[in-house]
């Protein structure tokens, strides 16, 4: 194991967590569909409970994504979180609101009333997806910051990473390319949510409306996603000279990365096809209920490929437009060799974790949610 291998390995794990997170954002998407797919109180309750047993996975994946980034690429954590303050704070508030809403919404004495908690879920569903998507897009479009390690000996201001844009992160929302990905993630989460409802709820009218939502949300998703991908792949990218680590702009850098890493290209294409297969088969065959699995795997593969394109093959994954040479690469921002090595040993437990998550998911979702279960009062939100 050499240092470069470990840095790439941890970029892969970060990418995988990011990819899982995008898939699990179906919970957020579902929260924006509560009153579109659910027309009666009972129907909404069924939807809420379908999501309510999964929301913690999404939340935990977000926490772990942040934690893993901190652990493996601490310079990213200090630069991005400590600079794009308002974007991360906004994401944070969206998720705090969510975490209490499921537990509190139908409890007696909740003061604010069920509708307020549903509004919180809506805010999380919309804000969480759009903001996270926008933040991730800056991996390709860049931000305005300076990194200078010599600052530490400056006694009046020892801060190493400094943001230079006065909007402290909110400027990312002014870039159309970023927002395209943000809104694409929003629509995608609604597609996956609809597929998830189709998979785990037994109710004719919910099924019908969910199927409609798959189509309604898939069209804008596809348009925005294609737009973002084409713009990104063929626009300017941020390349690193492997000899002297100098960072420079290069046209079609991300497309070149795909060509130069055929395995990632294959992953990307397979991901897109699997996503399309899950969606199209669900739309064509009314008794096909497993679309969420195909689309889910597809999303994970596609997003994984995008993250890999952003960080591998001599690419700066967190570029700075204020000063190109301040851009972060997986080599200049990672933890030390020893720390990454220890972390890598620990990461060998991951397959067991995935195994028990899968096992428990099946145990809980073994039987589809139906009206009888909700009416029997078996812990419902």
């Amino acid at each position: 194991m050499d240092y470069i291998f470990l840095q790439q390995y941890w970029w892969f794990l970060i990418s995988l967590l990011g990819a899982l997170l995008v898939f699990l954002l179906f919970v957020q998407g579902g929260q924006t569909l509560l009153y579109t797919i659910g027309k009666t109180d009972l129907e909404t309750t069924m939807l809420i409970n379908a999501l309510g047993r999964k929301w913690e996975f999404t939340f935990t994946t977000l926490v772990t994504f942040g934690g893993a980034f901190f652990a493996s690429f601490p310079l990213f954590y200090s630069t991005s979180f400590g600079g794009a303050y308002w974007v991360w704070m906004a994401i944070l508030f969206c998720f705090i609101l969510q975490a209490v809403s499921y537990e509190f919404r139908s409890k007696k004495g909740n003061i604010l009333g069920k509708r307020t908690y549903d509004l919180f879920l809506l805010i999380n569903g919309f804000g969480g997806t759009v903001l996270l998507g926008t933040a991730v897009a800056t991996f390709f479009t860049g931000s305005d910051f300076l990194v200078n390690r010599d600052n530490l000996t400056n006694l009046t201001n020892p801060v190493i990473s400094r943001w230079t844009n006065p909007l402290y992160g909110l400027e990312a929302l002014l870039n159309i390319q970023n927002v395209m990905l943000g809104v694409a993630v929003f629509f995608l989460s609604r597609v996956t949510a609809s597929l998830y409802f189709i998979n785990c709820i037994e109710d004719v009218s919910i099924l019908k409306r969910a199927r409609k939502q798959v189509f309604v949300n898939f069209v804008p998703f596809l348009a925005l996603f294609l737009g973002f991908v084409i713009w990104t792949f063929f626009g300017q990218g941020f390349a690193v000279n492997p000899v002297n680590q100098e960072i420079y702009k290069l046209s079609a850098k991300y497309f070149l990365n795909l060509i130069e890493m055929p395995a990632v290209l294959a992953l990307f294409i397979a991901g897109v096809f699997s996503l399309l297969f899950g969606v199209i088969k669900t739309l064509l065959k009314p008794d096909f209920r497993k679309g969420v699995w195909f689309s889910g795997v597809g999303i994970i593969a596609t997003v994984l490929a995008l993250f890999l394109v952003a960080g591998l093959n001599n690419t700066a994954y967190y570029p700075s437009n204020a000063d190109l040479q301040s851009s972060l690469t997986i080599y200049n921002s990672s933890s030390s060799f020893f720390t990454l090595k220890v972390m890598s040993v620990v990461s060998l437990i991951i397959p067991f974790v995935l195994l028990y998550i899968f096992w428990v998911w099946r145990a809980i979702n073994g039987k589809r949610i139906d009206k009888e279960e909700m009416e029997s009062g078996d812990h419902t939100y």
Partner: protein
């Protein structure tokens, strides 16, 4: 070059203190109540009696209300390391990486996965699977405390690392001494066992209310019986680990100990202040004003508790400022202690050596780089003192530390006797006639929280101005953002927290008033 504003440091600290204290309202109940629920469900599993299931489910409902908000506030702390303490995140990110990875992989998902079974699984999985899930949720929650406590312990006693002047950060060289540092182990045990006190006080308090209302008498009696055992065990272990903690502080953070005791002029055979009233007109360590209006001391006790030696010298704040006495360093070496001014001088030397090292590297002057690297290494133990502008900055807030420490210890002792008394009264079935004791039990719930939060105030206020002991002061740790932004988010957090706390308590009271449901 813009100058970092001191009010930015204060507001960033205020925000972190607010979120940490708030988060700590929910975590200990999760840990403590979780233990109690797991034991109840284990009995249900063994006996199959539905009253045990009913009891488990009732407490589990309350557990769930509290759990959600604990999760919601935990993520804030994690984010804030980056958003508000970005320099710190880079400076120590390499140390926190490994324990954080362990926690993320081992604990977070364990908790999140099995809590779903705990709440939705009663009719979906077998009894054994459900019981295992309950235990795994509590285990996951407890393990979730590991990283943050290892990190905190390392900040109090940095060990197992070297400073790399090229990357300008501390890099881990010895994983085990980070993870298993005596401070970390002690802190973990002290924190977890003291959380059992809160869980137990909560169960006892709520059960006592039922007895006062003459409802659910049997459920209340059995619940109290289990809770007092957990509570007593937790208190004894917390006292034991607290003693260990005091000794570690004496050796590694003598300034904190001096602040805890309001001790200015140290001596051999130092007594411990059992009760005392601080003289608030004392403003600085060298103003010759007696720090106490009144005090009752236990002779020789502080020397003994600190060094297991009745005659040992315990330095006071003045001694620590002036140095010159024979003391033991954090790493157990005997040496003549430096004054704060000397430490500041050495810190400045370390910072200058780092700057010169960088310049030498840029000029490709390897010789000069080596020389400066050597100077830096020699003085690195005082690196943080280089940022200190006025030597009095290194004295923490004595009033807050002194009183918080006394509140924690007195309440800890109170709980020791309280759990024994309750166990006895409950055992003899005399509790229902002792209204005063039942009301005291209701009152003891907030007391348990005050006790626990006071402990954190001692630990965190007492080590100011350091974010990492002697290596980095809070000033050098903050993010370079606008004060206005931090003030705004502080206000938003304060409003949100207030609303959520009111809602949480309201839901909790409603659920308690409703009482347990019948099990079919």
């Amino acid at each position: 070059m813009e100058v970092l504003d001191y009010s930015l440091v204060d507001w960033s600290r205020a925000q972190f203190a607010l979120t940490a204290i708030y988060h700590w309202l929910f975590v200990p109940l999760t840990l403590g109540l979780g233990m109690i629920i797991s034991i109840m469900e284990t009995v249900y599993y063994k006996t199959g009696k539905t009253e045990w299931k009913r009891m488990t489910q009732f407490w589990m409902t309350l557990f769930g209300i509290n759990f959600a908000i604990g999760i919601a506030t935990g993520i804030i702390l994690e984010f804030q390391f980056g958003t508000n303490w970005s320099n710190f995140s880079w400076f120590v990110g390499d140390i926190f990486g490994a324990p954080l990875a362990i926690e993320g992989i081992l604990a977070f998902f364990m908790e999140a996965t099995f809590i779903a079974v705990m709440f939705f699984g009663w009719n979906k999985v077998s009894k054994g699977f459900h019981l295992a899930s309950t235990w795994l949720t509590v285990l996951g929650a407890t393990l979730s405390a590991v990283w943050i406590l290892v990190a905190n312990a390392w900040m109090q006693f940095p060990d197992g690392m070297t400073f790399n002047p090229i990357t300008v950060r501390n890099e881990m060289t010895d994983f085990w001494s980070v993870l298993l540092s005596p401070v970390a182990i002690n802190k973990f045990l002290h924190t977890v066992t003291s959380s059992w006190i809160i869980g137990a006080a909560f169960v006892v308090g709520v059960s006592s209310w039922f007895i006062l209302k003459k409802r659910e008498l049997e459920l209340a009696r059995v619940s109290i019986q289990i809770a007092v055992v957990i509570g007593f065990t937790g208190t004894v272990l917390a006292i034991f680990t607290g003693d260990g903690s005091a000794r570690q502080v004496a050796q590694r953070q003598p300034m904190k100990l001096a602040a805890m005791e309001g001790l200015y002029e140290g001596k051999c055979g130092q007594g411990l202040v059992a009760f005392g009233l601080l003289n608030l007109s004392k403003k600085t360590y060298d103003d010759q004003i007696d720090p106490f209006l009144f005090r009752v001391e236990i002779p020789y006790a502080l020397s003994y508790l600190s060094f297991h030696d009745f005659k040992a010298f315990v330095p006071g704040i003045t001694d620590l400022m002036n140095g010159g006495y024979a003391g033991i360093t954090a790493r157990g070496k005997q040496e003549i202690t430096l004054s704060v001014e000397e430490k500041m001088y050495r810190g400045q030397k370390a910072l200058q050596a780092l700057a010169d090292f960088k310049l030498a590297k840029k000029a490709n002057n390897e010789f000069l780089a080596t020389v400066n690297r050597h100077i830096l290494e020699e003085n690195y133990n005082y690196f943080g003192y280089g940022f200190i502008k006025d030597k009095k900055e290194v004295i923490p807030n004595v009033t807050l530390t002194f009183y918080a420490f006394r509140i924690m210890v007195l309440l800890g002792l109170f709980f020791l006797f309280y759990f024994v008394l309750l166990w006895y009264m409950n055992q003899k079935d005399k509790l229902k006639n002792q209204k005063w004791l039942l009301w005291l039990s209701v009152l003891a719930i907030p007391l348990a929280y005050i006790c626990s939060e006071s402990g954190w105030i001692v630990a965190e206020v007492g080590r100011q101005p350091w974010v990492i002991q002697d290596i980095m002061p809070t000033f050098a740790a903050v993010s370079n953002i606008e004060v206005g932004s931090v003030k705004t988010t502080f206000l938003l957090f304060a409003i949100l927290f207030a609303v959520l706390l009111i809602v949480e308590v309201s839901i909790m009271i409603k659920a308690i008033k409703k009482g347990p449901e019948n099990v079919h």
